[in-house]
C-alpha cells in the first residue's frame, strides 16, 4: 500500500535503510520493530494479507498460566526437535513468548477467551501443558490482521506485488535487491543498507502440501544463490491431518480438543505408537504412524485414515473449529458433526532455512532472515505445532531491531552496479524471446512427483539417489524452457517460471542433506538407518551454493541445559 494509491515508482537513487522482503507475520513484525526514524519498506509478491501466515489455524504457544513455566515450554520444544534445536535459541523463544502474545493482545488480537476474560489455551502436539493460545481455528488470521492493522496505523510503506528475483551483494555486504514490479513487468533495482528476508516456506516442491501456491521458497533460493548457506534442509515436516485431494490442513487443534484418529478397523491406532500422548504426539510421530497404517493396509481406499470429532459435540466443533467445519463441508461434502473426516499426511513446513543467529543475522553483513525461511534454529528436526507463529513474531522483531542497530553502525550502503541490473534484465529479455515448446508446467509436475515419492516421510539411499538424478535431469530441461506469456503486465507465467528455478535449487539441497544424514531424527526418517546417532549426527548441516551443486558443511548444535535423551511419548 502506498501513499498515493498509485503503483510506486521506485527511484533507483533513493536508498532505504531497511528493506524487508515478505509481508507475512515475520516480515511485518520486523518492519514494526525498525526505528521509525529510519526509512523502511516492505516488499511482497502478493498483497500482504495474501501471505501464508493468514492460513495458520491452531494456535501460538506461550507459557502464560501461572502453573506453566517457559522452561517447560523450552524443554518440550527441544525434545520435540529431537535435540537438534539450538537450545539457547529455544530458550530465548520460549522466554519471550508471553511478551509476544501480550503485545498482540494489546494491539487488538481477538483471542478466544476463558470465562474470566483471560486468553484461552488448548493442548497441542508434544506439549506437557495446554499452552497454545488461539482464536478459534483461525489464529493465524487473527494475529496477522492485527499486525497488518498495526502496520497501517504506523504508516509502514509496503510495495505490494513486487517480486524479488535477486539479492545484490557489493563490497562483501548487502546492497539491495532486484525486483519485478508485477503490475508493469519492469525490473527495478532497490538499494538498501540492510535487507531482511521473511519469505516463508517452499511447500510447492511437493505434490501433497498444505502450503499456498506462493510458497515457492524464493527467499531461500535467492539467499542460497547469493552465497548464504542453508541449514538443515533435509527436515521437512509432514502434517498428519490434511484433507485428501486438496490437502487443506485440518488443524492439530482438532486433536488437541480431543479428536480421535481411527483406521479402517476402527482402531485408535496411536495407542501403539505413542501410548502416553496418543493423538497429540509430535507431528513426525503421528505422520509416520498414519503412513505405516496406510502401508500396512489398514487405511481407507482413498489413502486416508479417519479423524473422528463426533464425540466433541456440535457446539465445540462449530465454535472452536469453525474453519475446518467449513473446509470439510466445502471440499469433501462431509459434516464433521455427523461423520469422521478422512485425513492423510501432507507437506506442511520446512524446519530448515537460511542459517541465522539469535538476531536473524547471517554470514552476509546487513542481511537478515526471520520466519519460516530462516533456521535459527528453534525447530531442529521437528517443529512443534503452534511454535512457528511464535517464531515469526519473536525472531521477526529480533531481525528488525538488529537491522536498526546495523544501520546505526554502518551508515553507508554500497551502490548497486548497473551491471548487476543488466545481467538480470538480459536474462529476462532472453527468456521472453525464447521460442520453445518446453514450459515450466511439466517440470513442476515431475518435481512434485519425485519429491513426494522419493523424499517423503520414509526415505532411503536408493530413492534419494533416484531423486538426485531426476533433479539433475530437470535442471537440464529447465535451462532450455521458456514462457508462453510474452507480455509485461501481470506476467504470472514468467514469475512461475522463475519460482520453478528456485524450487529446483532448493529441492537439491533437501536431497543432499537427506543423503548425508545417515540416521533417523525427527521428521527425517531413513529406512536404511532407523536409529538416531547423536555421536555422529548431533550437528547441523549447512548447504552452500556452488556451480556443481550443493556443498555440504556442518555446524555444532548449541546445548545449554537439556542433555539429549531417547525421545518417547
Amino acid at each position: 500500500m502506498t501513499s498515493t494509491g498509485k503503483i510506486p515508482k521506485v527511484d533507483q537513487t533513493t536508498s532505504y535503510d531497511v528493506l524487508v522482503v515478505g509481508a507475512g507475520l515475520a516480515g511485518l513484525r520486523a518492519a514494526l520493530a525498525v526505528d521509525p526514524e529510519l526509512s523502511c519498506v516492505v516488499l511482497s509478491k502478493v498483497y500482504p494479507v495474501r501471505s501464508h501466515s493468514v492460513a495458520a489455524q491452531g494456535g501460538i504457544n506461550a507459557a502464560l498460566d501461572p502453573e506453566d513455566r517457559w522452561q517447560d515450554h523450552a524443554y518440550d520444544t527441544i525434545k520435540g526437535s529431537d535435540y537438534l534445536a539450538d537450545q539457547d535459541a529455544a530458550e530465548f523463544l520460549c522466554e519471550d513468548a508471553a511478551r509476544a502474545v501480550y503485545e498482540m493482545e494489546h494491539w487488538g488480537t481477538l483471542f478466544s477467551r476463558r470465562p474470566d476474560g483471560r486468553i484461552a489455551q488448548r493442548s497441542f502436539g508434544g506439549q506437557g501443558y495446554p499452552r497454545a493460545c488461539y482464536a478459534a481455528d483461525k489464529t493465524g488470521r487473527a494475529l496477522y490482521q492485527t499486525l497488518f492493522e498495526r502496520a497501517v496505523a504506523q504508516r509502514i510503506t509496503v510495495f505490494e506485488e513486487f517480486f524479488v528475483v535477486s539479492l545484490v551483494v557489493a563490497e562483501g555486504r548487502v546492497a539491495g535487491v532486484l525486483a519485478i514490479e508485477i503490475a508493469s513487468g519492469r525490473l527495478m533495482a532497490i538499494p538498501a543498507r540492510t535487507v531482511i528476508f521473511a519469505t516463508g516456506g517452499a511447500g510447492m516442491m511437493y505434490a501433497r502440501t498444505t502450503n499456498p501456491y506462493i510458497a515457492t521458497g524464493d527467499g531461500l533460493a535467492i539467499a542460497y544463490r547469493a552465497g548464504v548457506p542453508l541449514k538443515d534442509m533435509e527436515f521437512i515436516q509432514f502434517h498428519p491431518t490434511t484433507l485428501p485431494g486438496m490437502n487443506v490442513l485440518i488443524t492439530e487443534g482438532a486433536r488437541g480438543e480431543g479428536g480421535y484418529l481411527l483406521n479402517a478397523e476402527h482402531d485408535r491406532f496411536m495407542g501403539r505408537y505413542a501410548p502416553k500422548l496418543m493423538e497429540v504426539a509430535p507431528r513426525d510421530i503421528v505422520s509416520r504412524a498414519i503412513e505405516t497404517e496406510l502401508l500396512e493396509g489398514r487405511g481407507f481406499a482413498d489413502g486416508s485414515v479417519h479423524l473422528d470429532l463426533r464425540h466433541l459435540g456440535e457446539d465445540l466443533i462449530r465454535h472452536r473449529l469453525s474453519e475446518i467445519y467449513d473446509f470439510a463441508i466445502t471440499y469433501r461434502g462431509i459434516n464433521p458433526v455427523h461423520e469422521p473426516i478422512p485425513v492423510q499426511p501432507g507437506q506442511h513446513y520446512i524446519m530448515g532455512g537460511i542459517a541465522t543467529g539469535l538476531e536473524g543475522q547471517t554470514t552476509l553483513p546487513g542481511f537478515y532472515a526471520a520466519g519460516e525461511c530462516a533456521a535459527v534454529s528453534v525447530h531442529g528436526a521437528n517443529r512443534l505445532g503452534a511454535n512457528s507463529l511464535l517464531d515469526t513474531l519473536v525472531f521477526g522483531r529480533q531481525a528488525g531491531l538488529a537491522a536498526t542497530r546495523f544501520c546505526r553502525e554502518e551508515p553507508q550502503a554500497p551502490p548497486i552496479s548497473e551491471a548487476s541490473w543488466e545481467e538480470w534484465q538480459d536474462r529476462l529479455a532472453t527468456l521472453r524471446a525464447r521460442r520453445t515448446p518446453m514450459h515450466y508446467g511439466p517440470i513442476r509436475a515431475r518435481l512434485r512427483a519425485t519429491m513426494t515419492d522419493n523424499v517423503g516421510t520414509f526415505r532411503d539411499r536408493k530413492r534419494l539417489q533416484a531423486a538426485r538424478g531426476e533433479l539433475a535431469a530437470l535442471r537440464e530441461v529447465y535451462a532450455h524452457a521458456g514462457v508462453m506469456d510474452r507480455g509485461e503486465v501481470f506476467n504470472y507465467d514468467l514469475l512461475a517460471f522463475l519460482e520453478t528455478g528456485f524450487l529446483l535449487d532448493l529441492a537439491a539441497t533437501v536431497v543432499e542433506g537427506a543423503l548425508v544424514r545417515e540416521e533417523s531424527r525427527g521428521a527425517h526418517w531413513r529406512n536404511d538407518f532407523p536409529a538416531r546417532h547423536d555421536d555422529q549426527f548431533l550437528k547441523h548441516f549447512l548447504c552452500s551454493w556452488s556451480a556443481d551443486g550443493p556443498v555440504v558443511g556442518e555446524a555444532p548444535v548449541a546445548i545449554t541445559h537439556y542433555a539429549p535423551k531417547p525421545r518417547t511419548y
Binding site: P437, H439, G441, M484
Partner: protein, 137 residues
C-alpha cells in the same frame, strides 16, 4: 505446448462488466423497487396537486362533484389501486428497513420481506373490496 484453445470475439462485451439483473437478490430487488415506488409516488404527488388545483381553482366548486364523479370511473379506480400498491409496497418495505435500522430482524431479511409482502397482499384485497364498489357510482 499443451492443448489448443479457442478464442472468440466477445460481441457486446463491455470493458467493465456491468452488474446484470440476474445477479440481484431479494435485498437488492427490494431496494430497487423501494426507490422506484418512492420516486413514482413523488411524481404522483405533483400530478395530484396540479389536477386538484386546476379543478378547484379554475373551475370552482360546482365542478368538483363532476370531477369526483370522473375520478370514480373504473379506469381511475384502477389507477387509484395502482397508487395504493405503490404506497403499500413502499410503506411496508420502509417498515422493514426501519426495523433493520433499529436492529430487529436483520438475520431474517428475506423472511421479513416475504412476510410483509404477504401482509401487503391481504391489504390489497381489502382495499379492492372497499374501492371497487365505488366504481359503480
Amino acid at each position: 505446448m499443451g492443448r489448443g484453445f479457442k478464442v472468440r470475439p466477445a460481441t457486446g462485451l463491455k470493458r467493465h462488466p456491468a452488474q446484470t439483473l440476474a445477479t440481484y437478490r431479494t435485498g437488492t430487488w427490494a431496494w430497487m423497487l423501494h426507490r422506484a415506488t418512492g420516486l413514482l409516488i413523488l411524481a404522483y404527488l405533483y400530478f395530484h396537486l396540479i389536477v386538484l388545483s386546476s379543478d378547484v381553482w379554475f373551475k370552482g366548486s360546482a365542478d368538483f362533484n363532476r370531477v369526483v364523479g370522473e375520478l370514480t370511473a373504473p379506469p381511475f379506480i384502477l389507477a387509484d389501486l395502482l397508487l395504493f400498491v405503490l404506497i403499500l409496497y413502499h410503506a411496508l418495505n420502509g417498515i422493514r428497513i426501519m426495523l433493520f435500522d433499529l436492529g430487529y430482524g436483520i438475520g431474517h431479511q428475506r423472511e421479513w420481506f416475504w412476510g410483509l409482502m404477504g401482509v401487503g397482499a391481504l391489504l390489497m384485497v381489502a382495499a379492492s373490496v372497499a374501492l371497487l364498489p365505488l366504481a359503480h357510482l
